[in-house]
Symmetry: C2
Subunit: 378 residues, 2 copies
C-alpha cells in the first residue's frame, strides 16, 4: 500500500509510492483542493494532465451540497466530478469547528448548524465513514475535533481524548479495506499532547497518519516543533500527511521532517487574488509595473499561462475581472507547485535534497537570478 523508495541521508525526507484503489501516487505529493469537487476554475482533465494524480475534497461541504443522495446516484464522487485520479476526502471536522455555527461535540458525535442555511445536523464518526464510503473515497479521514489555536491545555487534552476515541470508532466503522483510512493526530501546541496522541494512534492499524491543527496562525518555529513531536511517534513505514500546509518553503522544510503528503489552498486561492509564485519570489499581478510588460510571469516556466500570455495581458484581464485571468494564474501556480514537487522527488532520489531545498528557498528569498543551476529550480 505504501512503498518507500528512497530515504534521504541528511534529512528525514523520503520518496515513496502510495497505492490507492484508483492509481499509484508518487510521494512527496501536493494535493490541490477541490472542496466541492471542483478545483476552482480548472477542469479535472487539466489537473490530471498537469500531473496531479490525487486531489482533496471535503465531506462536510459535499454533504451539504449537493447532498449525499446525489453523489450516491453516480456511484462515487469520482464519477460525479469526472476525475481520473484519486480523491482524499477530509472528514469536515475542521470545517464543523471553524465554519459551521454552534458546533456542540459530545461523546457520541457533534451537532452543528450548516453555514449555508442554518439547518441542524449531527455527525458521528460512524456517519462520517459511511459518507466517505458512499463517496467511494480513495482515502478517508475520521471525524476529529479542532480545538482552535487559543485552546487551553485542559480543553486541548479533553478534546484529544474524544478525537482518539473517535479514531478508534472510525476504524471499527469502516467496512471496506480498499477505501484507505488515515487517522489524524492532534495535540494543539503542547508537546506532550502531540507525542501522546501520535503514540496512541500509531498503535492502531491505520493506512496512514495525518498531522492536523497546524498552520493555523502559529509561528513557524512552533509549527515545526509540533510537527516533529507528532512525527517522532508515527510509524516509519506509513504515509504522513501534513494538513493544510503550505507555502513552498514550508512544504520543502516539512518534507525534510519526513512528511509525504500536503494540501493547501495557497496556490489556487492566491491565484484568484492575483498572486503568482515564481522561482524568484512571489509576484502581485495587480502591480502597475506590469501594465505594459510583454514578458510572461516567468520566462522559463512552461505552463499554459506563461507559454501563451504576457504579464500585461494577465494583469489587464485580472484588473478587468475576467475570470479567465483566475484560471491562468491558477494553472500557473499549480504548475509551480507540481514542478517543485517533481524536482524534490528527483533530488531525494539522487541524494541532493538538502542542497536543492536550501537553494530553492534562498533563490525565492533573494529574488535574484542565480545563473548557476538556475534550471534546476524551474
Amino acid at each position: 500500500m505504501f512503498k518507500i523508495l528512497n530515504n534521504d541521508k541528511n534529512t528525514g525526507a523520503r520518496s515513496a509510492e502510495l497505492f490507492t484503489k484508483t492509481n499509484s501516487i508518487e510521494t512527496p505529493v501536493f494535493m490541490p483542493i477541490g472542496t466541492l469537487g471542483t478545483v476552482k476554475s480548472v477542469s479535472p482533465f487539466e489537473l490530471y494532465d498537469e500531473g496531479f494524480k490525487i486531489i482533496l475534497s471535503n465531506t462536510y461541504h459535499l454533504f451539504l451540497r449537493p447532498g449525499i443522495d446525489v453523489i450516491e446516484k453516480f456511484g462515487s464522487l469520482r464519477n460525479f466530478i469526472n476525475y481520473k485520479g484519486s480523491i482524499l476526502t477530509d472528514s469536515g471536522g475542521f470545517q464543523i469547528f471553524s465554519l459551521a455555527k454552534f458546533a456542540k461535540p459530545n461523546g457520541d458525535g457533534v451537532e452543528f448548524m450548516s453555514h449555508i442555511d442554518g439547518n441542524r445536523h449531527f455527525f458521528t464518526p460512524e456517519k462520517v465513514i459511511k459518507l466517505q464510503e458512499t463517496f467511494d473515497s480513495d482515502i478517508m479521514m475520521p471525524l476529529d475535533i479542532f480545538s482552535g489555536p487559543e485552546a487551553s491545555r485542559s480543553k486541548a487534552h479533553s478534546d484529544l481524548s474524544i478525537t482518539i476515541s473517535w479514531a478508534k470508532r472510525s476504524l471499527e466503522a469502516r467496512t471496506k479495506k480498499e477505501n484507505l483510512l488515515f487517522l489524524i493526530t492532534q495535540g494543539n501546541f503542547f508537546e506532550d499532547l502531540r507525542i501522546n496522541c501520535a503514540a496512541a494512534l500509531a498503535d492502531l492499524d491505520a493506512d496512514g497518519y495525518a498531522i492536523g491543527g497546524l498552520a493555523v496562525g502559529e509561528d513557524k518555529e512552533i509549527m515545526f516543533k509540533m510537527l516533529n513531536c507528532s512525527i517522532s511517534k508515527l510509524p516509519e513505514l506509513k504515509p504522513r500527511y501534513l494538513m493544510g500546509v503550505g507555502t513552498p518553503e514550508d512544504i520543502l522544510n516539512a518534507i525534510g521532517c519526513g512528511v509525504d503528503m500536503f494540501d493547501c489552498v495557497l496556490p489556487t486561492r492566491n491565484a484568484r487574488n492575483g498572486f503568482a509564485f515564481t522561482a524568484k519570489g512571489n509576484l502581485n499581478i495587480k502591480n502597475a509595473i506590469y501594465r505594459d510588460d510583454t514578458e510572461p510571469i516567468d520566462a522559463e516556466c512552461l505552463c499554459f499561462c506563461c507559454s501563451n500570455f504576457s504579464k500585461a495581458y494577465v494583469r489587464h484581464a485580472f484588473m478587468s475581472r475576467e475570470i479567465f485571468s483566475q484560471r491562468l494564474l491558477t494553472i500557473h501556480n499549480l504548475h509551480f507547485y507540481e514542478k517543485m514537487i517533481l524536482n524534490t522527488r528527483k533530488a531525494i532520489k539522487e541524494g541532493y535534497f538538502e542542497s536543492y531545498k536550501n537553494k530553492f528557498i534562498k533563490l525565492r528569498k533573494t529574488g535574484e537570478e542565480h545563473n548557476e543551476n538556475i534550471t534546476q529550480f524551474l
Copy 2:
C-alpha cells in the same frame, strides 16, 4: 474580399466567404464577444478550436483598459490577446451613448466621461479609426451615434446626419486597405430614415455594412421591418452585419433576410447566468429538477461540457458558485450557436434553408422530440 457562394432560392439567405488580413471566414457567421479582449471564461485556443474564426472586441473598452499604448507595444490586439483568428472591433459609439456618462456629441466628435473613473475623453471619427489601426483590427467600425430607442423623429434625423458625415470622415481617415472598414446604418424605427441612411452609405466605398440600433427592446416585428428597410438599399455583393443580434431564432430569421454576420452576448452572458441553449428549448440549470439528473444538458451534444459532465454536476457547480460551471455553460452555448451556424451554411448550400429554419424554430418552441430528421438539428 467577399465572395458569395450560394444564394437561397426561397429566401434572402446566402453563404459566402469573407477574406480578412488574417484568415478567410465562412458566412453566415456568429462572432462571440470579447469586449475587453477575452471571451469570458474561455481561452482563445478553445474558441478557435470550437470553430470561431472571428471574434468581437470593443474600441471604447480597450481604449480605457488597458489603454492604447499597452496594445501598441504588442504590435496588435491579436498579439496582445493571442488569438489566431480575426478581430472585429466595434467603435464604441453604442457604449459611449449607453454606458459612458454625459456623452456630448457635436459636429466634430463626442465628449464623454469614462464609466470606470469619470475621466473626460474626446473621440472623433478620425481618432476611432486611428485606434483601430493601432489595434490592427481585421474589421473596423466607424464612430456613430446611437440615439436610443425612445428618440423622436427629429432627433433621430439630426443624429443620422452626423452619423453619415462621420462615416465619410472615417473612410477618408483610414490609411490601410487591409484593415477592412464597415459602415453602420442607423435610422431608429423610422422606415424612411432607415432607407435613406442605407442608400446614402451604400454610395460610399465601404468593405461591408452593419445594421445598428436594433434589438434594443423593440418588438420583433418592428425589428425585422427596420432590418428589411436597411437591407433593401445595401449592395448585394458586400457583407451585411446585424449588430447585437441575437437569439437563435432571430439569427435564423435574419439570415433569411440576407444578413451574413452576427454578434451577441446571449450565449456567453446567459451561460454565466445558468441558462443553456438546446435544440429542444432553453434550460435553466438552477432548476431543482436537475439536482440528481445524471444525463448531460443535451444527450446528443458533442461539446466538452455534454461529453463529460451531467446536469447534476453542472448544477451543483453553478449553485456552489464555482466559476468552472460558467466555463462549462459558456462552452456548451457557444457550441450550440456554432453548430446551428454550421448546419445553416450546409442548408443554404444544399438548398433546404427554409425548411431547416422552420423545423429548428418549431423544435425549440415545442420542446418535443421529433424523431424524423432529429440529427439535422443537433
